[in-house]
Symmetry: C2
Subunit: 128 residues, 2 copies
Amino acid sequence: MGHNYSSKREAIFKTIASTKSHPSAAWVYEQLKEEIPNLSLGTVYRNIALFKEQGRIITVANVDGEERIDADTSDHAHFVCEKCHRVFDLHSSEQSPLEKELSRNGFIINRKNVVFHGECRDCCESIN
Amino acid sequence: MGHNYSSKREAIFKTIASTKSHPSAAWVYEQLKEEIPNLSLGTVYRNIALFKEQGRIITVANVDGEERIDADTSDHAHFVCEKCHRVFDLHSSEQSPLEKELSRNGFIINRKNVVFHGECRDCCESIN
DNA sequence: ATTGTTGCAAAAATTTTGCATTATC
DNA sequence: GATAATGCAAAATTTTTGCAACAAT
């Protein structure tokens, strides 16, 4: 029978869940290091792996060789502004034509990763 | 003044361009090793970096810690099978609802990266 | 007590880089 | 001959893992 609790596990999840920055393992570790000095990076990795198995977090992207995660597991896409570098969450209601076609053809979609890159409205509006 | 030519560079690009497997650097290297025994993996990495700068290839996804690339730079999405690790091309005809909404709201989309993850038809069909 | 979790450091694995040598122009 | 490209191996990164110590039930 599994205990499935530890104070560090809880702290790691809270840190992931309380940011919209789509953090990396290293970022989570850095955040917690002050609060929990004897935390080790291996533990962060082990817990991230566990949370993924449990479906409590998802992998959002791999940026510069680092995996970036998100505790918002709802179906949403992202828009990255190439000028101001803000990341917008895009919560879509409808299924895309592609998803419908995949399902129709017997593919199981566990997760999708949709990232648009361009200029956000604010940056488009500014004279430039 | 740049020469910008070498037989190895040419061979590396041809190998990338002549497959639809969305290869990794290691795969390209393995393919060419027979033909060019004194090729080094570093050269493959250096040329992949160059091709990306030049816009001749794009990064499609990071599968199991390996970056996977594509010489097809046309606008298309991908499906990554979590079981067999194959990467499928998805050429969409229609615009997604999200793209329409972004355009309507004054966002300029320069590039999009759409990757579905799940189980491909072959892997779904196999008893497992 | 038993079983799960962690720290630590070593090991894997992928990618990058420094420098002498080689290829291209 | 000048400049760019490469081989090789070492280094840098990110992630995983083995094992003894520790925490939770």
